[in-house]
């Protein structure tokens, strides 16, 4: 019996996959509006920013750290790009490159402080996020930038699909960027040498250092990559809402972390897959959208998310306990 539980729930990814498929079936049967192309596409688009940020936060979690400054980084990069374009007459490529560079450097500052001060990264990033965020609001005076250039705020449509009943579904830039980010992260964490090193460092920093992995390099990459993805997310977020607002993403950091953790990344580091993170986003997105379509108040969604997190960590905790018991007693039941 415990064995059955473990095979069912031991791997977060499979549990999430099963849960997502089940609620998809339930919602498709109970409302005709759920499984339409336009609904699915809109859903993916609505969660593109969360997915991009969660992919970055996931890399840092695997590295054994917790970064909560990424929303401040995203807002800063977004605002830098927007003001360079609108006030200083930059063209697209240099503006976006500078914004990405800002994101990467803010991430690297976190890595350097974490490494040299030997303090938990969550503490370092609490300090840096208040610095980044406060400076951003101070410099910008919390003023929005509305007149974004056309190529940014106009929706690029890659594929347009019109269903028989007249619903229009557009595959737009946010979706394409999101897919690219997921594939890139999957490549880095699954295939590239640096990805394996991040897993090794997150799993056991001491051992990783002894086998000759450049500890500082790994941390710089992980936090820098999150900074880079934060700047991408900032760009996508502004494209979705057609304006750059310094305070738009404030307070989202814990929600994004919750998604990454729900997807199976562990706080201890060394564990987790990109697929799990994507599944976690899908699970929450489908749940929220389905409940909406069924007429359940959107105010109820926080309760659902909270319960989902608690159930998920209970299952992981239970599976770990079983594994530990088997390891210590050596039983093969």
């Amino acid at each position: 019996m415990p064995r059955l539980f473990e095979t069912l729930f031991g791997k977060t990814e499979s549990a999430l996959g099963v849960a997502t498929v089940v609620i998809c079936i339930v919602f498709s049967l109970s409302t005709p509006y759920f499984l339409t192309v336009s609904n699915v596409v809109n859903l993916v688009q609505a969660y593109s920013v969360t997915t991009i940020l969660a992919a970055g936060a996931f890399v840092v979690l695997v590295c054994g750290g917790i970064d909560i400054s990424f929303t401040a980084t995203a807002s800063a990069a977004q605002y830098l790009a927007a003001s360079l374009l609108t006030h200083y007459g930059f063209s697209a490529v240099p503006a976006l490159a500078l914004a990405a560079a800002l994101g990467i450097s803010l991430g690297c500052i976190n890595a350097l402080l974490t490494h040299y001060l030997r303090v938990l990264s969550i503490i370092v990033t609490i300090a840096t996020s208040s610095v980044y965020y406060a400076l951003l609001v101070y410099i910008t005076n919390a003023q929005e930038i509305y007149n974004l250039p056309d190529w940014w705020s106009n929706k690029f449509t890659f594929i347009k699909y019109v269903s028989p009943n007249g619903d229009v579904a557009r595959i737009t830039l946010p979706i394409v960027i999101m897919i690219a980010v997921v594939l890139l992260t999957q490549y880095i964490m699954g295939r590239a040498k640096i990805g394996r090193q991040i897993y090794a460092f997150g799993g056991n920093p001491e051992a990783a250092e002894r086998i000759g992995i450049g500890v500082l390099k790994v941390q710089l990459f992980a936090y820098g990559y999150l900074g880079f993805l934060a700047s991408v997310a900032g760009y996508v977020q502004a494209a979705r809402v057609h304006q750059a607002v310094p305070t738009a993403m404030a307070g989202q950091e814990l929600n994004v972390l919750a998604v990454a953790i729900l997807g199976g990344a562990s706080l201890v580091g060394g564990v987790g897959t990109v697929g799990g993170v994507v599944l976690a986003v899908m699970f929450l997105a489908v749940l929220q959208d389905g409940l909406n379509l069924l007429g359940v108040s959107s105010y109820f969604f926080g309760v659902v998310t909270g319960l989902a997190i608690l159930v998920s960590i209970s299952m992981t905790g239970y599976a770990e306990k079983l594994a530990r018991r088997r390891y210590t007693t050596g039983t093969q039941s």
């Binding site: 303090v119 406060a134 997190i309």
Partner: protein
């Protein structure tokens, strides 16, 4: 066996002696509190020199004493789990949730214009209900942390989302306002020139300090923070201690909620969200070890004054409050850097001394522990 003892006897004991001394200084927090006091004096002196007529006045002091209590109570609510090696991300959600419950009883159930005995009964009913809700939250959180066995950050991320979600769902995002004068008086009136809320905060700080340093429970909270498994094997019911940790934390949230209701004359699900990370910042600045096991309420108390002096000073200098927030972050990084340098220094001292004695590689090594 005896040969081994002989070979390592004297030097090893000296080595552990030095380590013991380091641990005692760390534990007493002596140097830490002195350093924080120095920082507080330097900052106060700086602002007094900059504004000799505005800053060092009774009015400024009173204004600061009025600002500290809510953040202070929430910071203690964060510090106790931190000392136990955990974290309680749900403090703000708990405070807002119990605040809304009390507000609902006072505005929705209590007959309007109630006075005299009726008012007293309803007011106590509201306070007791809020307290009971917080104790329940604490017990559930503690049991989850103890039994699930995953890091408290995850558990409290879940409870935070759940409690906040419930508050939003039940209020539909609205705020409740209009409370009895008594509640408002607690938060805004003064006694002998000192705000009543500051008295409450100070008394609570002393009680929690005594609890943590003098009681059996307090010592066990520290032990759990240092090593949970070892504490369990030494016969302590870690489950019960963890439940106490989160009950204490949640009850402090209730107190903060009462003060917040009085200060703002309203309650809502999204109030004071920005305090969450600041309480962690204050606790760490006050010398609470983020890995658990060490930390003093006295240090936290001084840290809160440091933060408030910066905020009030910047405010009087007409500098943006955002820059005050930025300098809070910078101060924390600065203090951590100073501690890091001090740790490297003291550990190399130990290393050098033992190296001279036993002519081998020191136990504490060139790689200092992450313990600060």
């Amino acid at each position: 066996m005896s040969g081994l003892e002989k070979k390592s006897g004297r030097p090893l004991s000296q080595n552990t002696e030095a380590l013991d001394r380091l641990i005692t200084t760390l534990r007493s927090g002596g140097s830490n509190v002195a350093g924080l006091l120095l920082l507080l004096i330097v900052l106060s002196g700086l602002f007094s020199v900059l504004m000799p007529r505005m800053f060092p006045t009774i009015t400024t002091l009173q204004a600061m004493a009025l600002q500290i209590p809510v953040l202070g109570l929430l910071s203690i609510a964060m510090a106790v789990p931190l000392i136990s090696g955990g974290l309680n991300l749900a403090i703000i959600a708990t405070a807002n949730g119990s605040g809304l419950l009390m507000a609902w009883i006072l505005t929705g159930l209590m007959p309007p214009h109630a006075g005299g005995a009726t008012l007293v009964i309803w007011l106590s009913a509201a306070l007791v209900a809020g307290l009971a809700a917080c104790i329940l939250v604490g017990i559930v959180t503690g049991l989850l942390v103890a039994d699930i066995g995953v890091h408290p950050i995850l558990v409290t991320l879940g409870t935070m989302t759940l409690i906040h979600g419930l508050s939003i769902f039940l209020t539909r995002g609205r705020t409740l306002s209009g409370f009895p004068d008594f509640l408002i008086a607690i938060s805004n009136n003064s006694w002998m020139g000192v705000p009543i809320s500051f008295f409450i905060f100070a008394v609570v700080a002393v009680i929690v300090h005594a609890l943590l340093t003098r009681s059996k429970l307090g010592i066990r909270i520290h032990m759990i923070g240092s090593n949970l498994e070892a504490t369990r094997y030494s016969g302590v019911s870690t489950r019960r201690v963890l439940v106490w940790v989160y009950v204490i934390s949640s009850v402090l949230c209730w107190l903060a909620a009462v003060l917040m209701m009085g200060q703002l004359n309203s309650a809502g699900a999204d109030f004071s969200q920005s305090f969450l990370l600041i309480t962690i910042l204050a606790a760490i600045l006050g010398g609470v070890n983020p890995y658990g096991g060490f930390g003093r309420i006295l240090g936290l108390f001084i840290a809160l004054w440091i933060l408030q002096v910066i905020a009030s000073g910047f405010n009087l200098l007409n500098i943006s409050p955002h820059l005050a927030l930025a300098s809070w972050g910078l101060i924390l990084i600065f203090v951590m850097a100073v501690k890091r340098v001090a740790a490297i220094h003291s550990l190399t001292l130990i290393g050098r001394r033992s190296q001279k004695d036993i002519q081998t590689k020191p136990i504490s090594g060139e790689r200092p522990e992450d313990q600060q």
